[in-house]
Each structure stands twice: as C-alpha cells, then as structure tokens.
Subunit: 341 residues, 2 copies
C-alpha cells in the first residue's frame, strides 16, 4: 500500500479512502492510484485491514457435529451460506462445536469472526446465551421459543404441514400417520423442527377432523424400516404416511415393500422435508416437500451480514417447503374397510 501511495504520489490514507470508498477522491488521483495498483498488482491485506478496522469479514457457521449428522440438507445450508458470504465479500468458516456452547465460547474469544450463523437451533439454546454474553452478532437458521429481537430465518413448518395434509386429504385419505422425530433422543432434545412439525400436525389434522396418530422415529433408513413394521402392525387402517426425516422416509418405503405392501397403491408416503437428490433415490420416486436449504443458508448469512453492516435488518423469514409430486402418493386403496370406532 505504501508502494502504491508512493507511485501514485499520494498518502496511504488516500489509497485507503479510495479502496474503502470512505471519503471522496478526485477522478484524477483515483486514476493515478488505480494505475499504480494494477501496475504493482496490489491486493489489500485482509488481516491488517481486520486488525485496524476491527472487522474481519469472516463469519462462522456453528454446527453441532457430535449431535447431528452432516447430511445432504446440512450441506445445502452450508454451501448456500458460503456462496452468499462470498458474494458479500465475506468468508465462511465451519465450526464443529457442541450444543452446550463451551467450545463456541472458546472460539469466539479469539476474535476471529464478526458474527455467527447458528444451525440446528434448539427451543432453548445455551449457545445463544454465549453469543449474547460475548456481544457477538448472530443470526439463526431455526428458532428458539423466545425470539425477541433475534435475527432468524426458518422453515415455515405450519404452512409446510398444512400443504402436505391438504394434498393428502384432497386425494381422499382419511387415515394418516405422522412419522415424526424421536424427541426422547437426548441428541435432539428440544430440537425445533421436530417439535414444530409435530405441533403443527396435531393442530392441522384436528382441523381436518382426522384422528391424530404420531409415531416417533430416528433419523436413519434403518429406523424407518423398523417403524414401517410397527406401523403396519399397529395401524393397519392407515392409507397415507407423512414422514419428517428424509432418511426415515426412504426406510419406510423400502420397509413397506419388504413387508409385501405396495407403495403407493396400499400406502401413500409423503416426505415432509427432503432434497431432490434423496427423493430421486427412492423407488418409487418420492413425493416430497423440498427443504428450502440453499435459500435458508443464503438468507441466514444475509441476515447476519446485514446486521454486521448496519444495513436494514432482514425481517424474520419463514420459508415453506414446496410440494414436488412424485410417484409415492396416490388415492387411497378402496379395498379396506374404514376403521370402526
């Protein structure tokens, strides 16, 4: 920078003003500086800038690697956020830290990042206390129970479930089961998506006059297969199954087939939150609601960066998953009698 200033015959302050567009510079000096910069191949040093300006232009995504698997959806959130950050000239680091906030506090102390995007938010999340205590700007992908003043974006679970139930109901299904998450698993204690989906379903199913059956299920294909067995045994009147976890959804389909039940002829299966790549893996191809992963990753980074730049805050956004018809849902089988009450 000193070299550039010298060559252009100005002070380094002026070069800095031009670079940051922080004070007006005459067209003439601008031209001289710019020429000097290209001649010298100058690039501004990000570390020195960070130290002087107290802004590193690095943001972190905190991910609970121990508690949650890093699956396709997570990858979408992350790469979506990384691309949004890059567009705004920020860098995104991945912090695999525990849900208790201890490691997070440790890392924040280093002063390396300007802010944090929090993923896999719990209804009452210790990491948020850490962020608030340390005065770190942050944005949530997900929601806590108490959202006062928090920047957040999330899936619109109400609309998503509403859309799913409506679609299934309008096809004529009246005996549904929701295969939800297993909230008894300590790794998912108070895990927002599971709680919210289940609550939304209970309310909406009741509105449609449907009997509410909810089965908990782990987040793996194997867990899905097991639940398929129990479901057929315990709720044989079922004609349509809504599945929250994408891996479980595939397990349900293959579990049913192994039990000799045709999908969708005997059981329609609808995945509530899935990525297209996973849906394509299913046979028959899954009818699903597409997780807005790239969009939420983008918005989460965007919300944080707006806050960092003191721009107009991004209003909280709830994005519904949208329906992608496949071949795993059809009209209910006619050949079985409705359940007697």
């Amino acid at each position: 920078m000193r070299d550039v200033a010298e060559r252009a015959g100005v002070s380094i302050a002026t070069v800095s003003f031009l670079l940051n567009d922080t004070k007006p510079v005459t067209a003439a000096t601008r031209a001289r500086i710019e020429q000097a910069m290209t001649e010298l191949g100058y690039r501004r040093n990000a570390v020195a800038r960070a130290l002087a300006s107290r802004r590193t232009h690095i943001i972190a995504m905190a991910y609970p690697a121990m508690e949650h698997r890093f699956g396709m959806s997570t990858a979408e959130f992350f790469t979506g956020a990384a691309e949004a950050a890059r567009k705004e000239a920020y860098h995104l680091v991945l912090w695999p830290v525990g849900n208790d906030g201890v490691e997070l506090r440790e890392l924040l102390g280093q002063g390396l990042v300007d802010g944090v995007v929090l993923m896999e938010v719990q209804l009452d999340d210790p990491r948020i206390d850490v962020l608030e205590q340390t005065g770190t700007p942050f944005a949530l992908i997900g929601r806590t129970t108490d959202l006062e003043g928090l920047s957040h974006v999330d899936i619109d679970f109400d609309t998503t479930v509403q859309e799913a139930v409506e679609y299934i109901h309008q096809l004529g299904h009246r005996e549904l089961v929701l295969v939800s998450g297993d909230l008894a698993d300590p790794r998912f204690d108070g895990y927002g998506p599971w709680v919210r989906t289940e609550n939304a379903y209970r309310r909406i199913a009741a509105e449609y006059g449907l009997r509410v059956v909810v089965m908990p299920c782990g987040d793996t294909t194997h867990a899905g297969r097991e639940v398929a067995e129990r479901l057929v045994a315990e709720h044989p009147e079922t004609t349509a199954i809504l599945v929250l976890n994408e891996y479980a959804a595939l397990g349900i389909v293959s579990g049913l087939r192994h039990l000799g039940h045709a999908v969708p002829e005997e059981f329609s299966v609808l995945a509530l939150l899935m990525v297209p790549e996973t849906a394509a893996l299913s046979d028959p191809e899954m009818t699903f609601l597409r997780t807005p992963g790239p969009e939420l990753g983008h918005l989460g980074a965007e919300a944080l960066i707006r806050r960092l730049e003191n721009a107009d805050p991004l209003p909280p956004q709830l994005i519904p998953a949208d329906l992608r018809p496949g071949a795993s849902v059809t009209t209910p089988r006619p050949n079985r009698k409705p359940r007697r009450t």
Copy 2:
C-alpha cells in the same frame, strides 16, 4: 495482553513467550502470568497474532461448486478436514471457486489463509499453477499426473478396483461391466477418480482374463436408470455390474428392478465408492466399498498443516476403500448361457 503483563508485573513480551512457548519462562513468573490471565479472562486476539506472525492459522478448502455437486462424500471430506483443523487449532474456510483458478487467485491475494487443501483434483489442474505462482502451501486430496514434490492423499484406486474385481470374480462372475464416469462431460474433464478407476479396471480385468466392457454414466440416479436400460439391452450376458458413482449405483439398482430384473439374483451390483448412509438407502442394501472420506479429509488437512508447521512432511498416502458386504451381490445366475464368441 498489556493488562495481563501489568498485573503480573512483567513485559508483554514475556506473556507472549509463555503463550507461544517460544522462550523459557520461570515457574514463578509463569504462575503469576497464568493467574493474571485467568483473573482477567484473557484470550489472545487471533487477528493481531496473525498480522504480527504472518500466520493466520486459517486454511481454505477450495471446492469447485459450479462443476461438482457437494454430495455426501464431499461433506465427509470437508467435515473431516474441519475437525482435523480444529484439533490443530486451525480454522477451515470453504471457498466455492471455479476450476480455472481465477477466483482462487483473487482470494489468495487477500492473504487470509496460510494454505489451501484442494479437492476434486484434475489430472492437469490450473489451480495448482495459481498456488505455485503465489507461493501458497497446499495439499491435494486427489492427484495430478505430475506429482513431483506435491503433498497429496488420495483414494487408492488400484487396490480398490482390485478388491472389487477379486470379490466378484471369486463368486464366479465372468461377465462384468464397469459403469464409469462420463469423461466427455466438460465439468469432469480430466477428473482423476474417473480416469484412474477406468484405467485400473481395464488393467485388472485383463489380468483376470475378463472381457472389458465400460459404460460411461453421469453422476445422478437418473443417469444410472438410463444406463441400466442400455446395459440390459446391449450386454444381456452381464452378471455383475461395478458402479463408480454412488448415485448412479442406486439408479442402476432401481432401473434394473423396474425392468423386471432381480438384484442380486439376475444382476449383482457393487458400488465402488460409497458412503454407508447412501448404501443403506438402497434396496436391497448395497454391497459397496466405503469411500475413505473422513480419513482423507483428515489427512488432507493434516498434510497441509504439517507443511505449514515445518514438521516432518506427511508422506503421500493412498487409502483404499474397504469392502462392506451388503445384499446386492451374490453368485451369478446359472440359467443363462455364457456368451458365445
């Protein structure tokens, strides 16, 4: 740091020496400094340290987001590297940059990272020129053709293919097809894994006296389904299919089933590089060779960090994928005549 030094009655230099373990410090002063640090809740500022020491302790993983999808395997590489980095007190940023090296050069100019881990390496990779020209330390996950002096780790394709062919051959299969990558796709021009797998297969199959049939295929389930159709039509004598891409492998299985062919009774299908989560999605569960993703991610970061710390270099490592028997491979069907020559 000044506060700590003051409180402990020493100079800031001494605090720094202790912190970095760069010069010996008496037990007494050490104790005083450490007490002062805990009392003040001191944490060393990473940015100032980076500027003064010219080492940021940040490494980047360059990922060609435009050319390659960020799938399960990629996620494993990345999270594996992130965890290894964290253990060594480094941070990992994701740089979604193009394969041509232009964006990479731009980012390197900022001086934010100490080095780069390169993923999805091409046999002749322009990004390596950029790294060398800028004098940036780097490590490869993958290999170029010319490897002179480059730190790298990669899948051991030779051993992997060897193991696969041996397993299939010993079960009695004599009519194999390799479903490889589509090197005509410009996004995968000179893409190492595809080239190496295909070369290894041609050599090894010949050693076993097998006729060599290789079919190119895209990296999606749909592409796999289409290839299944062509395969049955063009090579009906086939009894075993080796598939390179994990998504294509699932497509082949479901494609065969749709054509009315049983897996594994009529066609055995073996996935050459797959993650367990994907294998579990298949029906029947896939017999596969497990991509050493977490391990390679770890080793890639490790190799780079060793180089950065001037430690003994990590010798180049080739890790084979190991066989995980599932239910998609069995002995060849007896009911069809061997191909007449």
